[in-house]
């Protein structure tokens, strides 16, 4: 059986810092990855330094950046679901969950990555994760793929404990850094990458580990 991973995230670039290394690692190990990105990050504030984008051109630019990031990671199946940035929490649950369920039925993933609902800071992140959890939760227990969640809220470990999946991605920093750099409209700020020449030791320290929480479904 083909081993297939489904990634469901709301914005282009959500994959870059926390997940790209892990995906590159899975792909090298023979997995296929489908990445469903809910929006084009149309409402992003970062437009490049100096600005090379505007509100009208940003969606097309971010789409190209996302395609380049996917190429760097090795993802060959990108699905753009066409929702609008900052509106996921207001979308009709049946519509949103239906789109995710269609993908699950088509792909039959053994593993899904998304955001941990309630612990992912941005309303789009939480609403995206909640939609995935609702949809997977409706599957019969023995058909549910594992769901590994990104989370980064303050104090989250008091509530949901320590991450139980730790991915060492030090061998996959090249695709990871290429994924981050692909999103040049978003991550050009000096404090991130642009003006810093990190030594490879610094990069390994800062970017070499990715952490996930397995979502605890009831029975």
């Amino acid at each position: 059986m083909e081993r297939h991973i489904l990634v469901v995230l709301p914005h282009p670039d959500d994959e870059a810092f926390g997940l790209s290394g892990t995906l590159a690692k899975y792909i090298q190990n023979g997995y296929r990855v489908t990445y469903a990105c809910l929006t084009l990050g149309e409402m992003g504030r970062n437009m490049g330094i100096p600005p090379f984008a505007n509100r009208v051109t940003l969606p097309a630019i971010r789409r190209k950046e996302l395609e380049e990031s996917c190429q760097a990671i090795g993802i060959d199946d990108l699905r753009l679901l066409g929702f609008h940035d900052k509106t996921i929490e207001f979308e009709d649950h049946r519509l949103l969950d239906g789109r995710i369920d269609d993908l699950i039925q088509e792909i039959r993933p053994s593993l899904i990555f998304t955001f941990y609902p309630g612990y992912s800071v941005h309303p789009d992140h939480d609403a995206c994760g909640a939609a995935v959890i609702r949809t997977v939760g409706r599957l019969p227990a023995d058909e549910r793929p594992a769901v590994h969640c990104l989370a980064f809220a303050k104090n989250l470990e008091e509530d949901i404990g320590q991450p139980d999946v730790i991915q060492d991605v030090r061998e996959f920093l090249q695709p990871k850094m290429a994924s981050i750099r692909a999103h040049r409209s978003q991550f050009q700020a000096a404090e991130l990458l642009g003006d810093h020449e990190y030594t490879s030791e610094e990069i390994r320290e800062r970017f070499g580990t990715e952490r996930f929480w397995t979502y605890p479904f009831g029975s």
């Binding site: 609008h84 900052k86 509106t87 929490e89 207001f90 309303p123």
Partner: protein, 103 residues
Amino acid sequence: MIPIDRLPTETELRKFVGSEVYVHSEATSFVFVRNFKLRIGEAHVAGEGSYRVALRFDGQGWLRMEALTHYEVDEAGRLLLAGYDDRGRMNVALHLGKEPFPE
């Protein structure tokens, strides 16, 4: 103005669904728009403590505001939502009425 409670505020907001409404919307330091006329299709309130409000209108658009904290329905039946900081300064406002606001 009374602190927003999500459900009662959403109930008030949804009384405008299906109607043509005049909107006054502002983000104090940067922009306001007065008497923007639209037909509301959906109305939502989300958040805790500080709230996000979204209107889907005319079958093709969104109006979304965040940092809203207080609301009231005035004697003319207009729904007045606003967001204040901890020193009582207004940051954002979203007002809905069935008649134009005075220009």
